[in-house]
Amino acid sequence: MIKKRLRAQKICFFLLKVAVAINGAALAIIVYFIVSRGWRAISWEFLSKPPTDSMTMGGILPCIVGTVSLCMTTILFALPIGVASAIYLNEYAGQTKLVRFIRLGINNLAGVPSIVFGLFGLAFFVIVLDMGVSILAGGLTLGIMTLPVIIGASEEALKSVPKPYREASLAMGATQWQTIRKVVLPVAFPGIITGSILGLSRAAGETAPIMYTGAVFFTPDLPSSIFDEVMALPYHIYVLATAGTNIEATRHLQYGTALVLISLIFGMNLFAIIMRAKMRKKLKG
């Protein structure tokens, strides 16, 4: 009897392991194809030159610059608002109706589909606020999309600051704001940055929100102000793969661009994951 039950356990645990292996295999297969077919395209020229010959030759410099400038705008907008929201929710607010309402708003904002952010950015930033298709409009659209991630990460970081830190500071006569500024934030800072990097890496890979707000098909010039339109890595992959002048002949450029994009994003993620592991060790010790 017990033997039979243990055999059932063995089989089911094996199935669970298969599920885990499928996930690992999926990641490995995708990365394998992108890397093995993309690395040949990577060269100094590819990274430092604009596309030429109707985007069938040349490099992707404007896309890299575009993606970086969109990300900078995103983080400059979303980080202060996200951290301040998290401070209010975690440090000041209690369990009131208003707080529940704010959280509901944040959760729903997190669930809005990326293309709907794109529609909103187009209707509001591009047209009503008259920013045109620009780094600013695209960055703000991505910023609103990233906001819930940054709020979540910052709250997590603030929560991990031990209570006695705050109590000690308050007991010495500091006000709550002084406590937050001089005691809580410095301790929570690495966690906030880690979470924000994760959020930003998501924004860097998004295509749908910037299709009609920040990114364009082709522009050979590097942006000179935040009101310029740009090329972006994710959108460039989409354009080359679906609407390029010669889709088959530019395959290696598509793989190359995808490789640059996932290297950028995985780099940010690994950095954040390693930093987080170090922090956990420190908090434990």
Binding site: V20, T175, A258
Partner: protein, 295 residues
């Protein structure tokens, strides 16, 4: 100014900023409706939602989005059938069975899968998976509902996995120990005690994962084939809601009927995910664990 007054001012300042998310969400709703509702001057709501023909550029144009809605529902359901077992099983393994060293490796893998840009997954579906399934099943096109669902599944797995893992992990150890002490095997404890105890969290995870799949754009834009017709087989090309918006916005003249129709599709999509999120929020709030007395 006294320190206490500064403190009060600062507090109100933070409250104002915290309200920004609500403001942003409201603005999104307002602008979707502002630009989407005018389509109802041209077609009735019923014709729009249940019309079977989507020919927005014809003259006269047809604005029936039923094929698009069905496309979205089908790919979401199929991807759910793949992603739910995969995600939940991985979560259970990570939270209850895996040795620390294994979960230290698997967790980053799930996180990296989560961070994979949708355009790269769509691209992969287009150039690698499409020719593969075309040969495997001997079908005319590889860009179809099955391909898109498969790719979407791997976008939903990380969401389902990480949220369910938290739920499974947070089941009090006392429950587990009690079950083991009564002579149940580890597996029986999992199925009869731990999974039921974390069911609300797992449901929330599934809903959020599927919500992500409904709203995902680039994958269905690149790998679903893009035909706006009601599919009859799993290997038919489809054009889910997000794909229509993304593909057609460039060609829709500003504030034309087509433009308004695309915003109206945005409303439908938003309502879908909004309901999903409200449901998830409701479940996690109503059944949130208070102490150990939640069974």
């Amino acid at each position: 100014m006294k320190r206490q007054n500064i403190d009060k001012t600062v507090r109100s300042g933070f409250l104002l900023v915290a309200l920004f998310s609500i403001v942003a969400l409201s603005l999104i709703i307002i602008f979707l409706f502002l630009e989407g509702i005018p389509i109802l001057e041209h077609v009735s709501l019923k014709e729009f939602l249940f019309g079977q023909y989507w020919y927005p550029t014809d003259d006269p144009a047809d604005f029936g989005i039923l094929p698009l809605i069905l496309g979205s529902i089908y790919v979401t359901v199929i991807s759910g059938m793949i992603a739910i077992p995969l995600g939940v099983m991985t979560a259970i393994y990570l939270a209850q069975i895996a040795p620390a060293t294994v979960s230290q490796i698997v967790k980053p893998i799930v996180e990296l899968l989560a961070s994979m840009p949708s355009v790269v997954i769509g691209f992969f579906g287009m150039v690698v998976v499409a020719p593969f399934i075309q040969q495997l099943f001997n079908i005319p096109v590889g860009l179809n509902m099955f391909n898109a669902s498969l790719m979407l599944a791997f976008m939903a797995v990380p969401t389902i996995c990480s949220i369910s893992e938290d739920a499974v992990f947070s089941v009090p150890t006392a429950l587990k120990e009690a079950s083991l002490a009564l002579g149940a095997t580890h597996f029986e404890t999992l199925v009869r005690v731990i999974v039921p105890a974390s069911l609300s969290g797992i449901c929330t995870a599934i809903i959020l994962g599927l919500s992500r799949a409904v709203g995902e754009t680039m994958v269905v834009l690149m790998a679903a084939g893009g035909a706006a017709m009601i599919p009859t087989s799993i290997f038919d090309p489809v054009r889910p809601l997000p794909a229509s918006i993304a593909a057609e916005m460039a060609e829709a003249p500003f504030r034309s009927e087509h433009y308004h129709a695309l915003f109206a599709i945005g409303i439908v999509l938003f309502v879908f995910t909004f309901l999903f999120n409200l449901l998830a929020d409701h479940i996690s709030y109503k059944f949130r664990q208070v102490g150990e007395a939640s069974l």
